[in-house]
Symmetry: C2
Subunit: 284 residues, 2 copies
């Protein structure tokens, strides 16, 4: 019978560390600051924003939201990002994505300062991830997965890890992070002929595909660790993950729930990245 | 019994295509040009340089070598790279690596123009690889592996591919390229507990670890396709790969030799990248 491993204790543990770091920074008159850049009034952006605000105020980080109308031109938007790049009081910039159509992420990713790009929009940070250069910033969700594995003392080196999903925000970066930590990594996806053939042999299964309850007990081996990165609206209208937790619970040794799993850790990772950026910028 | 699949026909086929492209470019008064940047007199650099020269003259691409003394300072070196960036007659820049100690690759990679960086030194090209943006340049060796698979009509989508080795020049980029082509990809390395457990189930095995003859028939399944990226000096003083070709030959369906395998394709890929750079720079 498996243990449900929740995100909250992980988030709390990260926050505790951050609170001490913020205290030390403030003693040097450095006030860490995050700016979230939001275009329009997307509900999922607003929800993440509220969570980030709560987390920042808890740990003592200043947070400001720059709100722009959904109709902002790319030229104006780029000018605003440049202002934030140049503003020395700003340590981290979080741009809510996806952006409306007239704003090309492919143009904006080259504008944001890599040093302030705490959610890995800039190609410089994508390359640093690939090169295992830890002066960069990894996207918050993959980073949250790594924090969960560390908090629950999951040994990664030499383990057989199967990742289901190959997106730029989840599957690809997680596979590189785990590879850098010496896991043997297999990446499965929609074109994989028989995902369960791979995942049912894995010590750790990480799922991020966006299909509600896709993974049942036939996909995992006895004692596997299962991390569910999916967030879907189920037929009953409630939030659910890509993993059918009820059906996998008895077979897995540890399993993250949805909600209250990976998603609960992302804002803590976000503030952790702000502190990292702040320290690098101030040579602390 | 397997077929030895050599690099030469692949290289010749690429060159044939390039010759036509060069002809078309010259009709528009565009003369594609590669500059190789060499510091010191490293024998493997010189050998690659000779191969590149031969290939360039065969396909009609201009090639120049900028030679610098092993003692050149980083400041001078960077100034030289910037000159090449600014020189409109230069379409591709190849920097021989590794560089001597006083020249930090980590600094120089930010200097080279991504548009001319035909061997993927720049982080912009590393990120484009990761993001499956084909306006970038992939390192020549992984690119050569893909060309071989395509030339010999190896179906990649949905196949179980095991990559042994996780270097920035071979294993990591190849895994991303294969993932982008819909393979199910597993990356094994020195910390993998039992590599053969993974590789012996794979449809395609790609090896780049730098250990002479490490892979014998126990590592592959009947009918597997085996691509050997290793180049080592064996105990008998001859060149050999990471795969023991003699022992795997009967079990594999196709296997690349060393020498005359992947290595024979890299200069063709190099000139292909020069043409791509030239066309992008001239909006052709």
């Amino acid at each position: 019978m498996g243990a449900i491993i929740k995100g909250k204790p992980v988030a709390d543990s990260i926050s505790e560390g951050i609170i001490l770091e913020v205290k030390e920074l403030k003693e040097r008159n450095i006030i860490p600051k995050l700016v979230a850049v939001r275009v329009g009034e997307n509900e999922s952006d607003l929800s993440y924003e509220r969570g980030a605000f709560k987390r920042c105020s808890k740990v003592g980080i200043e947070m400001e939201v720059k709100k722009f109308p959904g109709s902002i031109s790319e030229e104006e938007f780029i000018a605003e990002i440049k202002k934030l790049n140049d503003d020395k009081s700003v340590n981290g910039i979080l741009v809510f994505r996806p952006l409306p159509k007239q704003l090309s992420e492919d143009n904006i990713k080259y504008i944001i300062s890599p040093e302030k790009d705490i959610d890995c929009l800039s190609p410089i940070n994508v390359a640093k991830l690939m090169e295992n250069d830890n002066t960069g910033f990894v996207p918050c969700t993959p980073s949250a997965v790594m924090e969960i594995l560390k908090y629950y003392n999951v040994d990664i080196a030499g383990k057989n890890v199967v990742i289901i999903g190959r997106s730029m925000l989840v599957g690809k970066p997680i596979s590189i992070l785990l590879l850098n930590e010496n896991a043997t990594v297999t990446i499965c996806h929609s074109q994989t002929r028989d995902i369960s053939m791979f995942s049912s042999k894995a010590d750790i299964v990480i799922v991020g595909v966006g299909k509600a309850n896709m993974i049942d007990e036939s996909y995992i081996k006895e004692g596997a660790i299962v991390i569910d990165v999916g967030i879907n609206i189920c037929s009953n209208g409630k939030l659910c993950g890509d993993v059918n937790t009820d059906r996998c619970f008895n077979k897995a040794s540890m399993i993250t729930p949805v909600p209250s799993g990976v998603g609960s850790v992302t804002t803590s990772v976000l503030v952790k990245h702000v502190i990292k950026a702040c320290k690098l910028q101030n040579n602390v």
